[in-house]
């Protein structure tokens, strides 16, 4: 719901340079890609010509040399007339005028069940004692495909960048993600839009194409996405990375293919994708060359073959039926499975699909873990959780629920400077992240962006480390749902976590949760083993016997 008129731009005329000296400053008009401001060519005076065009990206207040601009959400009575909010009214008006459904970028708006109502349980005396974050070691490494591939993917930290395509993102943003990955030892993902120039060697930490000079330590990895549109795919493309990800779906629009609006299909993008310049590039929603799970198994087999059995094969799923979907991926031969929740982002999608299709990330992880456990491959076939992960705290909660690593997508864009204005589809990103216009993408420096991303990853990793160690673990693989409690009934019902205070899962989960004695730590802080629980004897009355 791109709400028209939801933001209120106010200019402090006393501070504004243009108001004091017309013609002196036109920064706001220059930086705003949405046409909110206009400069009078005769008088040189600045005025706001279109309040409704403002999407709330706040680039004007960022660049204003006099700090004279404030962009505030419109606090009108109109906004609170639920369910006929300003957004709903505007949506109907727009459809009535144009006959077209709304398209929108970024992700789900409004509250959905997320990690906020989960709390972390620290160690005290009854469980393994907490570890000292400042003086002890904690192992955050995650290895994908250790037993199956000649070249497993060794992530130094349990993070990846979510798959975002060239086309949806600018070349500069893709390069920044690669550099950020190289600085932190994590993996970047090509997305479905093919390789960006320099991406392959930047991601490994090299400063030049010949790979003679390593500029960024420890050097990261590149995951190649194999998707339904197969844009720019050749045998060299598949072999350009350190893993191949088979995209089945994504969180923002499960059941639909990628959607790149014509406004972002520039010559460079059109060359990779093979579509005419300025025409929408719509990926198919399914693989035309897969009709059954057997076909998918054969696809994995030939992908392994063309990569000479070196690289791990990942699957990426949208949030649909996590148990059955993850089971199918295991059957097809995946080394790792990414599961993207409802809040997962997108460059462009029908509003109703982003808003109303799929299940939340917290509800995806437990069934996915159950499927992995039922096949006996939990923590062997890795699970990567994506969709609305904002911090080390969210990442820790996802990993304690059973994921092995997490992906940052929207959070990575925000680390690059994005202010979450939900207008990625317009191709006018004022921070140069989701735009293809040279004048806007020039605002993003890949190396500086990479540094910001690396800082974000380092901070998040430290957060994960704090939480892992205060809950008494040395390795993230040892985390379990026992380290978490749900703080409300909804979250307890969605995740099967123990409800805080009640200290048991809700009765509706009894059939699928193991007996409490099984997931209790077997040792206390001093290393003494707990006695094994005795088998319960069912007492029957003599009368019943």
């Amino acid at each position: 719901m791109a709400v028209v008129g939801a933001f209120c731009v106010s200019v402090n005329r006393e501070a504004c340079l243009n108001a004091r000296m017309p013609g002196k400053c036109a920064t706001c008009a220059e930086v705003c890609p949405h046409g909110v401001y206009a400069l009078d060519p005769v008088t040189g005076q600045m005025h706001i010509q279109n309040y409704n065009a403002c999407v709330g990206c706040r680039i004007c207040s960022e660049f204003c040399p006099a700090d004279a601009i404030r962009v505030n959400p419109a606090e009108s009575e109109y906004l609170s007339r639920y369910p006929w909010t300003l957004a709903a009214v505007e949506e109907i008006h727009s459809k009535a005028q144009t006959g077209e459904y709304l398209l929108r970028g970024f992700g789900t708006q409004g509250p959905t069940p997320n990690f906020d109502m989960i709390t972390v349980v620290p160690s005290q005396i009854a469980s393994a004692a907490p570890l000292d974050k400042y003086r002890e070691e904690c192992d955050l490494e995650v290895v994908i495909g250790e037993d199956t591939c000649a070249r497993p993917l060794r992530l130094k930290l349990p993070f990846v960048w979510a798959a975002m395509s060239f086309g949806a993102l600018s070349k500069e943003a893709k390069q920044a993600l690669a550099i950020g990955a190289a600085m932190t030892g994590i993996a970047t993902n090509t997305g479905e839009g093919g390789l960006v120039p320099a991406e392959a060697w930047l991601a490994r930490g090299y400063a030049d194409e010949a790979r003679t000079r390593k500029q960024w330590e420890p050097g990261g990895y590149l995951i190649i996405q194999w998707s339904t549109g197969r844009w720019g795919v050749s045998v060299d493309y598949v072999n350009a990375g350190d893993a191949v990800e088979v995209k089945i779906g994504q969180g923002a629009k499960p059941g639909m293919g990628g959607h790149l609006l014509g406004s972002k299909v520039t010559e460079d993008v059109a060359r990779v994708r093979g579509v005419p310049v300025g025409s929408d590039a719509l990926s198919p929603c399914r693989y035309y060359d897969v009709q059954s799970l057997d076909d998918m198994r054969h696809m994995v087999a030939f992908l392994r073959d063309v990569t000479d059995y070196q690289l791990p094969i990942l699957f990426k799923l949208g949030p649909s039926r996590p148990y059955a979907d993850v089971a199918a991926c295991i059957e097809a031969g995946a080394d790792a499975i990414s599961i993207d929740g409802l809040v997962g982002g997108t460059g462009c999608s029908p509003d109703i699909v982003t808003q109303g299709v799929g299940i939340p990330t917290i509800a995806c992880i437990p069934p996915a873990v159950q499927a992995l456990k039922d096949y006996g491959v939990h923590r062997k076939v890795k699970l990567i959780a994506l969709g609305g992960i904002r911090s080390g705290l969210d990442a820790f909660k996802a990993m304690a629920l059973g994921a092995d690593a997490v992906g940052f997508g929207s959070a990575a864009e925000i680390a690059l400077g994005c202010r979450a204005c939900y207008a990625c589809h317009k191709g006018n990103c004022p921070y140069g992240i989701t735009s293809q216009k040279p004048e806007l993408t020039a605002r993003l420096d890949p190396v500086e962006g990479g540094r910001r991303l690396a800082n974000f990853i380092h901070a998040s990793a430290e957060e994960v480390k704090i939480l892992t160690m205060l809950s008494g673990h040395r390795r993230i693989a040892d985390l379990s749902p026992e380290d978490l409690r749900a703080m409300d009934l909804n979250t307890a019902a969605l995740t099967g976590l123990k409800l805080a205070g009640y200290e048991r899962p809700l009765p509706i989960w009894e059939a699928v949760t193991p007996r409490p004695a099984d997931d209790q730590p077997r040792t206390n802080g001093n290393g003494h083993k707990r006695p094994k629980p005795k088998a319960r004897r069912v007492l029957r009355s003599k009368a019943a016997a």
Partner: protein, 216 residues
Amino acid sequence: MKTIDAKAKDLKAVNRALRAAVGGEPVMVKHAHHLHGLAAGLKFGQVEVAGDAGDYLGVLNAGATIHVDHDAGQYAADNMTAGTVVIDGDAGYGAGQYCYGGDLVVRGDAGDFTATMNKGAVILVAGDVGDEAGTYMLKGDLVVVGDAGANFANYLIRGTVYIGGNWKSLGHNTRQEPLTEADLAKLRGYFEQYGIQADPAQFKKIVAASAKPFYN
């Protein structure tokens, strides 16, 4: 000619042997009908498949010449970027999908969804094709000497579709155009190159009605 007997061997063994053998003289592969992804991602060489081939024959082919003297399974020459794949018999569902370049020749019939999302290859079918052939084609040529099924050339974006026979129904965003001299010369060239008996003048040409049929 070197020979690889694929009987009771798996894909890994056969494709590794094939990669080691190609380069000089042609390599013959026998009894390979159970392998899906035979000759995947070859960059050069000449492969002769004796008998039937399985699914995903020559997937990601990047320059090799592959010849099958019987039928091929589903998705033959999938995602080919260069090279030539010639199938003397029939091809199953989805032959020549997602190709960026190269030539695919099917001397028999081809199944549904032939040449879907073709992005630059030349795909010749000397017999008939099934439904939805040429769906979402972005570049390249699809030439069908026989008849086509329903929804032929659906959502054509660019590229050209030529058909010698008739179709059951034509897909969205298509328009018929008269053949030009260049088209005739091109078709004649294809037919001569691959020894197909057909008269170019009898063909109908289908192109996209609009280059931007979608939302924008």
